[in-house]
Structures are given as structure tokens and as C-alpha cells.
């Protein structure tokens, strides 16, 4: 479905030097699967999502969507071809209502459908449809609206960037239920969930641990999670100096 081939991402560092964010990434995201992308902060998880969406342009490598090379396509073109991304920190807009943005996300969607997707993420449509996507909403509300947009849009591949961030425990359970019901065993769709939440791991078909701009470990959660969990924790707590080899004791 979506293939990343030899992807490198280089950006300018603070003193003008080149910093390599992604290093020779090769990933196959397949249809009918839910992927968890996890790993320490700054490892490159969000960068992968942004390279796929076309927000960051890879310095080397190719991206294929259903066999078509989309490496040079713009964000708009990739969205139109079936890539969707729920931002980690969605921007706010003055004067654009939740109904407006839901209609942009899915131009043909009628109000009944929009309402039902807002309800799915725990938002009462009557209270939210006419509200601005501005400063009057909490971070958690903005995240849920972001989720609702992507679910309503329903592209071929949906990337959720830390859907749990800023969201209360009850809503996280609801969001997990939505991911399971809409993507698990759906033969036509792929979901990628960038996450730091351990509860999300078991619902996924495959885990990718991203660290230092590379895939440090990959596999089904039941096979590898118990092997790599402590290593991630250790790295995150800064108790390990230098490189960590995930899953190798």
C-alpha cells in the first residue's frame, strides 16, 4: 500500500550544519493493518508522518502509494490520492467553524454524517458545530476534532499523531475503540498511530520503534513488545548512554 524506500531527511541545524533526522528508512505499510509507531522523543516519529504527508520533503529516497511514485507530489496532491494526517498539534483558526472544517475534510458529507462523527469522538454536535476552531477550545477538544476530521475523511492511509495527547482517559478508550472498529481487519485501509501510550500497543498489528531516525525494532506486539518495552523506558529515562539495541539483552 505505502512504501518508503531509502528515505533520508536532512534539515539545517541551529548553526547552519546539516542534521540528519531520518536515515535510510525502509517501511512497508500494508492494507488491513494498524501500525503503532513509538520510541523516544526526538527519534523521528513525527518526521516520518510529515514526510509521508509531503509536509517535509525527503532529501533522498522514494515514496510509493499503491505502486505509484508520489515522492514529488505536494501535500494537496497526496491528500487527494488518499493520505490523511491528524496533526499532533493542530493549528487553530479564527472564523472557521468546526462544521466548516469537517465539510472541507469531506466535501460531500451531510450534516447528519458530520454530527455522527463528532459524537463518535465524544463531542456533542449541538455544542460544537458552530464554534470557531479558535482559542476557545481546549487542547483535548482540538485533538478530538482533529480525529473526527480524519475519520470522516476516511483516506486510504490514516496517520494519527499522538491521538492520546491532552485527551482524558475515558476519551482515549473511546478513540481506541474507534481505531479498532474502523481499521482492524479492514482490508482496504491502513492506520498508523504514533503514540507514547502503552494501551494503544496491543490493538495494533505491528509496532515500529523509531529511534535516532531509523527503525530500531519492528514486529507484532505479542512477539516483540515484552522484549523492547524496558529498553524504550530506559532510553526515555536517560539512564542509558549512547545507543540502545532494542530487544537484545
Amino acid at each position: 500500500m505505502l512504501e518508503l524506500r531509502n528515505i533520508f531527511l536532512q534539515v539545517d541545524g541551529e548553526s547552519g550544519e546539516k542534521v540528519e533526522i531520518l536515515k535510510n528508512l525502509n517501511i512497508d505499510f500494508q492494507k488491513g493493518k494498524v501500525y503503532a509507531v513509538t520510541g523516544p522523543n526526538g527519534g523521528g516519529k513525527t518526521s516520518i508522518a510529515k514526510v509521508i504527508m509531503g509536509i517535509y520533503r525527503q532529501s533522498q529516497g522514494q515514496i510509493y502509494l499503491e505502486g505509484e511514485d508520489i515522492s514529488d507530489l505536494s501535500v494537496t496532491e497526496r491528500a487527494q490520492k488518499g493520505i490523511g494526517y491528524a496533526f499532533q498539534q493542530p493549528p487553530r483558526f479564527k472564523g472557521i467553524t468546526i462544521q466548516d472544517v469537517m465539510s472541507i475534510a469531506s466535501p460531500g458529507a451531510d450534516l447528519v454524517r458530520i454530527r455522527s462523527f463528532l459524537r463518535d469522538v465524544g463531542l456533542c454536535p449541538e455544542d460544537y458545530l458552530d464554534r470557531d476552531l479558535g482559542t476557545g477550545l481546549s487542547g483535548g477538544e482540538i485533538k478530538r476534532i482533529e480525529m473526527a476530521q480524519l475519520l470522516l475523511r476516511d483516506p486510504l492511509i490514516s496517520i494519527f499523531d499522538e491521538p492520546e495527547a491532552g485527551v482524558d482517559l475515558w476519551t482515549i478508550q473511546k478513540l481506541l475503540g474507534l481505531i479498532v472498529s474502523r481499521y482492524k481487519h479492514n482490508p482496504n485501509k491502513t492506520a498508523v498511530v504514533i503514540t507514547h501510550n502503552e494501551k494503544i500497543i496491543p490493538i495494533c498489528d505491528e509496532i515500529l520503534v523509531v529511534d535516532g531516525g531509523t527503525i530500531a525494532a519492528q514486529g507484532p506486539p505479542e512477539k516483540i513488545w515484552h522484549l523492547i518495552k524496558d529498553d524504550i523506558e530506559c532510553k526515555v529515562r536517560n539512564q542509558c548512554q549512547g545507543e540502545v539495541t532494542y530487544g537484545v539483552k
Binding site: 494537496t76 487527494q80 493549528p91 483558526f93 472564523g95 472557521i96
Partner: protein, 307 residues
């Protein structure tokens, strides 16, 4: 008299009207009133000096609307009008004003609308004024609205003043006096393009105990246009006032924003916030990630911002 298509199109641009409404109205076309009618609760007639209108809404009348649009299609016309609006005690009314200019010549077309509004005790007013200009030649389209509003005890007013597009020059002046427990909200939205200039000067005197005022300004400057926004809150009594000005700057345009707070009473709580900047890249990217082109994303953001 019937309006022709050009005149009706201008009327629609500033009032959203598809047809001439049946209630109280005064339509001024090229310096003359061409349609005027009163309703049982609203009298619309000439002022004593014969220089404009006097509109009076009866005390206690509710859900009343009066339309007073101005349309200019005659090239080179300098039109000046003095209008007085009195909203009677306890009344609840909407005034829909505005001016549309079509100028296909090289001569200047200009309308100066000088309005005095008195909102009597306990009354409620919604006042909407849209400005629009169009034309294919170099002749400037100039609109200079000037409004003095008095809000008596316990009265509430909301003024929504919008410049849609196509106005070369505008000098807007708004002065408000708010008495005890009176409330005023001003929403101003201005779009300037190319070489256009817009100046807006708002002065609000919070004269009475418990009076409050809020000014929300949204501005978009494109091309090589220039905007100057000044808003002064003068707290002369225990009162609350807030000015919020947001502006989007594009191309090589310039915007100057000057909020001013003047407190003459220790219990006057006056605040302001102002922000000028280009469209945030992350906003564009977000909308593009939903399938919009960059230009569609820009248009969506501007449309929402100026809505």
C-alpha cells in the same frame, strides 16, 4: 422607481437583499432618496435641515428592521449625507446600512455618511454597515463613514462594520459615549488590496458606572495597501473595556495598529491585545492536508478571518 440590475447587484453586495424589502427603508441612489417608506413602528423621513434622514424607532417596539443603503453609480459624484437614528426606550431594532459604489470612469466617486445614533434607555440595537466598490477604470471609490453613537443607561448596541472590497480610500471615524450599565460591541472587518488605504479611528468613552465596551478588529491587507487602526478606550467611571485587533498582512502591504487605553477611574478595567502577521504556514498546511490547494487554503483562511 425600480432599480436596474447594476443597482440591485450593488444593493445585494451590501445588504444581501435579493429584492427590495417591504418594511421601513430608505434607498439613496446617486445622492437622492429613490425609495422611502415607514412602517407602523419606524418612521423614516427627512431631517430638519434637509441634509439627510431621521429614523425613529418607537419605544418598546421589538424585532424591527430598517434598511438604509446607499448606492452610487454616477461617476464623479461627491455624496454627503447626515442621518440620525433614534432607537426608542426598550425597543429592539436592527439597522442595515452600507454603501456600494460602481465607478467605471476616471473621476472620483465619494460617499460621506455622517451618522448620529441614539440608543435610548434599555433599548437594544444591531447596526450593520457594509461597504463595497467596483469598477474597471482608474476613478477612485472613496467611502468616509462617520458615526457618533450614544448609548443610554442599560442600553445595548452592536455595530458591525465591514469593508468587503474595492474601496480605494476610506477614513472611518466612530465615537461612542456609553452611559450607566450601557454596553457596546464594535466588530470591524476591513479588506484592502492593491494601492488601497484605510484608516479607522474609534474612540469610546465609558462614561457611566458599569458601562462596558468591546472592540474586535480584523484586518487583511494585500498588495501594496495600507491600513491604520486606532482604538481608544477612555474609562471615566468604573467600567470594563477591551480592544482586540488582529491583522493578516500579505504581499508588500502595511498595517499600523494603535490601541490606546486611558483610565480616569481606578475601577476602570481596560485591556487590549493586538497581533499582526502573515498567514501561519501551519494553517495552510493543515488545510492542504485536507485536499485544498494552497490558493484555496488562503481563501478559506481569509474568508473565515473576515467573516
Amino acid at each position: 422607481m425600480e432599480l436596474n440590475k447594476l443597482e440591485m447587484d450593488l444593493l445585494k453586495s451590501i445588504t444581501d437583499l435579493e429584492t427590495v424589502p417591504s418594511g421601513a427603508l430608505n434607498i439613496r441612489l446617486n445622492g437622492k432618496a429613490v425609495m422611502r417608506q415607514s412602517s407602523p413602528n419606524i418612521s423614516v423621513g427627512p431631517n430638519d435641515e434637509g441634509t439627510g434622514l431621521k429614523v425613529e424607532i418607537k419605544p418598546g417596539a421589538v424585532n424591527e428592521t430598517v434598511h438604509v443603503p446607499v448606492v452610487l453609480t454616477q461617476p464623479g459624484l461627491l455624496d454627503k449625507v447626515y442621518n440620525t437614528f433614534i432607537v426608542g426606550e426598550g425597543a429592539d431594532a436592527t439597522i442595515i446600512a452600507g454603501c456600494g459604489i460602481h465607478n467605471d470612469s476616471h473621476a472620483i466617486s465619494r460617499h460621506d455618511g455622517i451618522h448620529e445614533i441614539i440608543v435610548k434607555r434599555g433599548a437594544k440595537l444591531k447596526y450593520t454597515e457594509k461597504h463595497y466598490g467596483e469598477g474597471s477604470e482608474q476613478g477612485k471609490r472613496i467611502l468616509n463613514p462617520s458615526t457618533v453613537i450614544t448609548i443610554e443607561s442599560g442600553a445595548i448596541a452592536e455595530l458591525e462594520m465591514v469593508q468587503i472590497r474595492g474601496v480605494n480610500d476610506t477614513m472611518r471615524s466612530t465615537v461612542a459615549h456609553i452611559h450607566e450599565k450601557g454596553s457596546l460591541k464594535i466588530i470591524e472587518r476591513l479588506l484592502t488590496q492593491e494601492e488601497q488605504r484605510a484608516e479607522s479611528d474609534i474612540m469610546i468613552y465609558l462614561d457611566g458606572n458599569g458601562s462596558n465596551a468591546q472592540v474586535i478588529s480584523r484586518a487583511v491587507a494585500q498588495g501594496h495597501s495600507y491600513q491604520l487602526f486606532r482604538a481608544a478606550l477612555i474609562g471615566k467611571a468604573p467600567s470594563v473595556g477591551h480592544v482586540e485587533c488582529d491583522a493578516i498582512l500579505m504581499d508588500s502591504a502595511r498595517i499600523r495598529s494603535i490601541p490606546e487605553l486611558q483610565a480616569e477611574d481606578a475601577d476602570a478595567v481596560l485591556t487590549h491585545e493586538a497581533a499582526i502577521g502573515k498567514i501561519a504556514g501551519e494553517q495552510l498546511i493543515k488545510l492542504m492536508s485536507l485536499g485544498l490547494t494552497e490558493q484555496e487554503a488562503v481563501n478559506t483562511i481569509l474568508e473565515g478571518f473576515l467573516r
